[in-house]
C-alpha cells in the first residue's frame, strides 16, 4: 500500500511539473509574440526598432519633419564653417561645473550603498552592472572623478549602462557614457553627412557645440554591436586641437575592448 501511495505521489509531482513547464513556455511564447508585434509596429513607422542595428541614410530618407531637416543642414553648414555649431551647450556647462557637483554628490551619498541608487560612486566597479564595463585607461585621465549607472536596472543582474567622469589634461572634464546594446536592444538611424569612421573604423559621429557663455562640448559617439558609447569633453574655449584630442581619447578607450 505504501508503495502504491508513493507511486501515486510521484505521478502527481511529475504531472504538476509538466503543467508548470507548459505554463512557463506559454508565457515565453506570449512574450515573444508581444515583442514581435511591437517591433513590427515600430518598423512600419520607419523608426529605429529593437535590435535593428545601425542604419545610415541620406537626409531625404531621414524620418523627420522638413523644419528639422532644414535645421540639420544648417548645423552641418555651421560645423563646416566654424568647426562647431554655435549654440549654448548645457552639457559643457555641467561638465565644467563637475569639480563642485561631483564632490557634493559623493559626499552626500557616501553611505548609500544600495545597488539601485543612481548617485555618483568613486569607481565604476562600485556599480552593480549587468555587463563588463570598459575601464578608462590611466593614460587618459589625470583625475578619475566617479561613475554612475544609466539606462535600466535588470532584476538580479544590474544596470545596463553607465557613465564615468574624468579629467584629461589635454582638454578638460570628460564623461564616457556606455550603453550595452544586447541588453538594451538598442539601434540607431544616422544621417550620413554627420557620419565618419574616425574611431577605429567604427561608425562615428563627431560634433562640437558651444558658445563662450556656456563653454564648448566636444562629443564623439561611436557604435558597434556591443556598445553605443558617447565621449563628451568640455572646455571654455573652442579649438580644433580639442576636437582632435577628443577623437584620440575615444580611440584609446575603444581599444580597451
Amino acid at each position: 500500500m505504501v508503495g502504491l501511495r508513493g507511486f501515486k505521489m510521484k505521478k502527481s509531482i511529475i504531472f504538476i511539473s509538466i503543467l508548470a513547464l507548459n505554463a512557463c513556455y506559454a508565457d515565453e511564447a506570449l512574450d515573444a509574440k508581444r515583442a514581435a508585434w511591437s517591433k513590427h509596429y515600430l518598423e512600419q513607422q520607419g523608426l529605429p526598432a529593437p535590435d535593428g542595428g545601425v542604419k545610415i541614410v541620406s537626409v531625404e530618407k531621414f524620418n523627420a519633419r522638413e523644419a528639422e531637416k532644414t535645421n540639420l543642414m544648417k548645423v552641418r553648414k555651421d560645423i563646416k564653417k566654424y568647426g562647431y555649431s554655435p549654440r549654448e551647450s548645457e552639457s559643457a556647462r555641467q561638465l565644467l561645473a563637475l569639480d563642485v557637483t561631483a564632490v557634493r554628490d559623493l559626499k552626500a551619498h557616501a553611505n548609500d550603498l544600495s545597488p539601485m541608487q543612481t548617485h555618483l560612486r568613486k569607481r565604476i566597479n562600485d556599480l552593480r552592472l549587468a555587463y563588463i564595463p570598459t575601464l578608462i585607461p590611466s593614460s587618459i585621465f589625470d583625475k578619475y572623478i566617479g561613475a554612475a549607472p544609466a539606462m535600466t536596472y535588470n532584476k538580479e543582474q544590474g544596470w545596463t549602462g553607465s557613465v564615468q567622469f574624468f579629467h584629461n589634461k589635454s582638454i578638460g572634464n570628460c564623461s564616457l557614457t556606455e550603453k550595452n546594446v544586447p541588453l538594451n536592444h538598442s539601434s540607431a538611424i544616422l544621417e550620413k553627412d554627420f557620419v565618419s569612421y574616425d574611431v577605429n573604423n567604427k561608425v562615428t559621429i563627431v560634433e562640437v557645440i558651444g558658445k563662450k557663455t556656456s563653454g564648448f562640448s566636444y562629443t564623439v559617439e561611436w557604435y558597434d554591436n556591443n556598445f553605443f558609447r558617447t565621449l563628451e569633453c568640455a572646455n571654455e574655449n573652442y579649438s580644433q586641437s580639442y576636437t582632435t584630442n577628443a577623437i584620440e581619447i575615444a580611440k584609446t578607450i575603444d581599444n580597451q575592448g
Binding site: 509574440k33 508581444r34 523627420a64 548645423v75 535600466t152 538611424i189 553627412d193
Partner: protein, 126 residues
Amino acid sequence: MKKGFLFLSILFLSVNAHAGAWAVTVHSRANCAGFNESITWHAGHSYYWRVESHHFPYGWSHPAHIVNTGKQYTWRAAAYHLNEAYANRGDKWFVRGYHFYYVDGRQIFDQVTEANDCNIYDGWWD
C-alpha cells in the same frame, strides 16, 4: 473581438520627482494603484525624447493601446495612463516601453523596458 488601438499623448507630472541623477534612466511599471507607464528621465537635464508605452491586457499578444509622448524637449518624458490598472482588483496588465532619443543627425532607439508589476527595483525612487 473588435481590435482598436487608442493613441494617447499624455504628460503627467507626479508630485515626487524620481530620476537618474547623473545619466538617463528608463523604466516601465504596471498595475500601480491605477496606472501603467513608461518613462525616460534625467534629473535637471533636458533632451529630445519620445516614449511609447504599449499596454497589453492579460493574455493578449497585441496591445490594447499605445501611449505616445510625442517628441519633446524635457528632463522627463512619461507615457502614462491613469485609471487603467488596479492590482487590488486583480488587474494584470503587461507594459512594454520603447525609449527614443533624438539629437543632431541621430535617431536612437535607446532601450525597451517591460513590467508586469509596480515593484520598485530599478532606481525609480532615486
